[in-house]
Symmetry: C2
Subunit: 295 residues, 2 copies
């Protein structure tokens, strides 16, 4: 199979569903929905919802049963980008080649659009159709996602990242930042796909190991791109991490060692998928994609 075709098919389904979930329905004031939609439809890779679907399919589930939750996770991811870009945080003017939310709508609306996306995500999760109509499965998934996105997950990681700027961070702090800031929601994406489609405990454990390795590789390769990437392809400037003295893998380990760590992580990620058949191929190809990506 070709990853490119798989991604094209899945992202079309995701875009379509996001569009329906974020219909304005005459909400007032419309500028709030406009700001929410501006960042949601800003050309993201949809990696998290793709992971939800690919994990579901790995254990024999159907994409229709996880698409709503997958899109809710993408809204949480988008809110985090809007807030991270704010002047009080990373103060970024561009993302994916377009002005950031607060550059277009102003700080107040950007904060509120982020708040609205986060809250909307939980509204959508609570309204998820569940196979077997089992409310407890949704309860479990909401908890999984909230823990991953909250103070012991993504928000905690972003806080630690901000506090670490300009400081000499050790390897343990670096790991802790990224495990929470980006790793937690990627892990929750994979687990959500598996839990919602009734994965067994062993399958869930294997996919969790995969997801944790995937999260680390994602961050290492993201950090490497900020050093050696092509800013035109990425739609944002490179070298910004070094300018801000951010805690990154190349900064702590050096570029070559960081690349080696990504390759070793790939071996472990693929090993975690050993017990699955070809239905896990999209997950396998996504790991390769991380190591070869240019944005």
């Amino acid at each position: 199979m070709k990853l490119q075709n798989y991604l094209r098919e899945k992202t079309a389904f995701i875009e379509n569903t996001l569009n329906k979930l974020l219909a304005e329905t005459g909400a007032r004031p419309s500028i709030l929905y406009e700001a929410m939609r501006y960042s949601v439809f800003a050309g993201g890779k949809r990696l998290r919802p793709v992971l939800v679907i690919a994990a579901a399919e790995t254990v024999g589930g159907r994409q229709e049963d996880v698409i709503t939750a997958a899109c809710a996770i993408e809204l949480i991811h988008t809110y985090s980008l809007i807030h991270d870009d704010l002047p009080a945080m990373d103060d970024d003017d561009y993302r994916r080649g377009r002005p950031t939310n607060h550059k277009v709508y102003g700080e107040a609306i950007a904060i509120l659009a982020g708040d609205a996306l986060l809250t909307k995500a939980f509204e959508i999760l609570a309204g998820c159709p569940v196979p077997g109509d089992d409310g407890k499965v949704i309860q479990r998934v909401i908890k999984e996602i909230a823990v991953a996105a909250g103070p012991c997950g993504m928000v905690g990681g972003q806080t630690l990242d901000l506090l670490s700027e300009g400081k000499n961070v050790d390897a343990e702090t670096l790991f802790c930042i990224h495990k929470n800031k980006t790793g937690a929601l990627l892990r929750a994406s994979v687990r959500t796909g598996a839990i919602l489609t009734g994965a067994g405990e062993e399958e869930l454990a294997a996919l969790t190991t995969f997801a944790e390795e995937f999260g680390i590789i994602f961050q290492i390769t993201d950090d490497i791109l900020n050093v050696v990437g092509d800013s035109t392809k990425m739609g944002k400037p490179v070298g910004t991490d070094a300018q801000r003295a951010k805690a990154t893998y190349p900064a702590v380990y050096g570029l070559e060692q960081a690349k080696r760590m990504a390759r070793e992580g790939k071996d472990r990620a693929l090993a975690a998928l050993r017990s699955f058949d070809t239905k896990a191929d999209p997950l396998r190809l996504l790991v390769n994609y991380l190591l070869e990506r240019e944005k």
Copy 2:
């Protein structure tokens, strides 16, 4: 019964539970939890969790069955205050007589503490124990609260409020702002208490009417206090709404007409409780309290 005793007993139970729910448990970085706790334990009246409990008791429910959800709603209320106070929003330096969150922890941490409280609230809701172990009831409550707090509720109301500053707003816009900004979460509080303890549809409808009237009275009396209140008792300056040309009931209707509207709302709120016995007395007394409050 004395409302004062009722409030003393309930708020002690609420404080105690909030304290347990926001235990640090070694989370990293601890400053994030410190900032979250700073605003949660800043001397709020706990009106929303009290409403959850009082509504539950009105339909024969027990406070133990709704306390977790009640506290989750208080966290959502607290997050909204932190974000509303930010320089990009209302730019308030004091709340309840203490410096606002961003004055103590800086803007970045204040934004993150708000984000963390909102997310934590949904984690707590998803972990709510439910009588009968029925996950679908929790799903319904989470949806109820998320809708009330989201773009068609609280966040939408705050956006419209911000956009209306300095403009001549009409009565319909004023109503729309407050129905969403403060009314929606008060309404969800009452409904959450009732839904979680198995209220019948007629009971729920009566309590919803009560809650909607309660929300309007709350906002009218809040607006009036900003005109005629005692800043020492309130812990924040008065006259700020007029300075900012905010959309308020006294500004749109005049002080005397606003007072009359509050009294008429009280009659309707009490009428909505007609079918309930003395178990609804706390709700009845709370309406009187709104009209007599000094902060």
